[in-house]
C-alpha cells in the first residue's frame, strides 16, 4: 500500500530522511503507469524494458525536483517525465540504424505517382487547376525554403518520421527542429497569400 502524499510531502520525502521509501513508492507508481500504457506497444520483455525506463526516469526526476512548479499533482509531473524518457528511448531503438540519407531515400517509390492525372472523379478543369497548384507549391518549396527546411519538411511533415530522430540526425534538437519547420510553414503561407492563393480555400477544394 502506497502512502497518500501531497505535493509538498513528495518533495520533502524524496529529499529527506524518508527518501528511500518515497523513491520506492514513486518507482512503483511509475512502473504501474508505464506498464499499462506500453503493454500494447512493446511486444517483448515488457517488464524488463519498463523497469529500465523507470530507473532512468527516477534519476531524471530526482535531479530536476527544483523545476517542479506545483501546477499539477507531483505524480502527474513524474509520469510526464517517465513517458518522455521511455519514448525518447523507444524512438531511438526503432530508428537507430537508419541514417539521414536513408530516411530521405525511403518511401520514395510512389513519389511520381500521378494521382492528380489519373483521378477519374475530377473534371478536366479541376485537373488543370490541380496541376497548376501542384507546380506552384513545388516551385515555392524549391525557391523559398532552405535546404535544411526542405529536408525537415520532407521527413517530418510528408513522411511522418519522429521529430526527435530527424533532429538527432540533423545535429539539432526537437524544439529547434519544430521552429525550423514552423518558419518554413510561415514562409510558404506568406508566399501563397502574396500570390493571391488562400491556403484554406485550396484545401477545402482538395478535400471534397
Amino acid at each position: 500500500m502506497i502512502a497518500e502524499r501531497t505535493n509538498e510531502d513528495w518533495l520533502q520525502d524524496l529529499q529527506g530522511e524518508h527518501a528511500e521509501q518515497a523513491i520506492a513508492d514513486l518507482r512503483e507508481i511509475l512502473l504501474r503507469g508505464l506498464r499499462a500504457a506500453l503493454a500494447s506497444r512493446i511486444r517483448r520483455d515488457l517488464e524488463f524494458v519498463v523497469e529500465d525506463f523507470v530507473q532512468d526516469a527516477l534519476l531524471k526526476i530526482l535531479a530536476n525536483l527544483h523545476t517542479f512548479r506545483g501546477e499539477s499533482k507531483f505524480t502527474t509531473w513524474a509520469h510526464k517525465i517517465a513517458v518522455h524518457v521511455a519514448y525518447t528511448e523507444l524512438r531511438r531503438r526503432r530508428w537507430h540504424d537508419i541514417s539521414l540519407q536513408e530516411m530521405i531515400d525511403s518511401f520514395e517509390g510512389n513519389d511520381f505517382t500521378p494521382a492528380i492525372l489519373t483521378d477519374t472523379d475530377v473534371t478536366p478543369e479541376d485537373k488543370t487547376t490541380r496541376r497548376t497548384l501542384l507546380a506552384f507549391v513545388q516551385r515555392m518549396i524549391d525557391e523559398e525554403l532552405t535546404e535544411r527546411q526542405r529536408t525537415a519538411m520532407n521527413l517530418v511533415v510528408l513522411k511522418g518520421i519522429p521529430m526527435e530522430e530527424v533532429a538527432r540526425r540533423m545535429d539539432t534538437n526537437r524544439n529547434a527542429l519544430y521552429k525550423l519547420i514552423y518558419d518554413a510553414r510561415q514562409r510558404l503561407k506568406r508566399s501563397m497569400i502574396e500570390n493571391g492563393i488562400a491556403p484554406d480555400e485550396v484545401l477545402s477544394e482538395f478535400e471534397d
Partner: protein, 76 residues
C-alpha cells in the same frame, strides 16, 4: 516531386500555421496541467489552446500525451 497526397499534407500544415505557436519545450512544460484538465473532464483545449494546437501539429508530443493519459489512468 509532389503528388496529390503530399500536396494535401503540405497545405494542411500551412493552413494550421498561426503566429503564436509554441514549441515542444513549452508544450512539455504545460503538458501535466493540460492532461489533468482532460482527466478532470474540463475543457483543456479552451484553457490551454496553444498546447492543443501544438499537439495537433507535433506527432512526437501527441504520442507522449496519449501515452501519458493512459499511464495516469492506470494508476488512479
Amino acid at each position: 516531386m509532389l503528388d496529390l497526397t503530399k500536396l494535401k499534407k503540405i497545405i494542411r500544415s500551412i493552413v494550421a500555421t498561426r503566429d503564436d505557436e509554441i514549441g515542444c519545450a513549452d508544450c512539455f512544460r504545460e503538458l501535466d496541467r493540460f492532461v489533468e484538465l482532460v482527466l478532470d473532464g474540463k475543457n483543456a483545449d479552451e484553457a490551454l489552446p496553444l498546447v492543443r494546437h501544438h499537439l495537433d501539429l507535433c506527432g512526437d508530443c501527441r504520442e507522449e500525451y496519449e501515452v501519458l493519459i493512459e499511464a495516469i489512468r492506470a494508476t488512479v
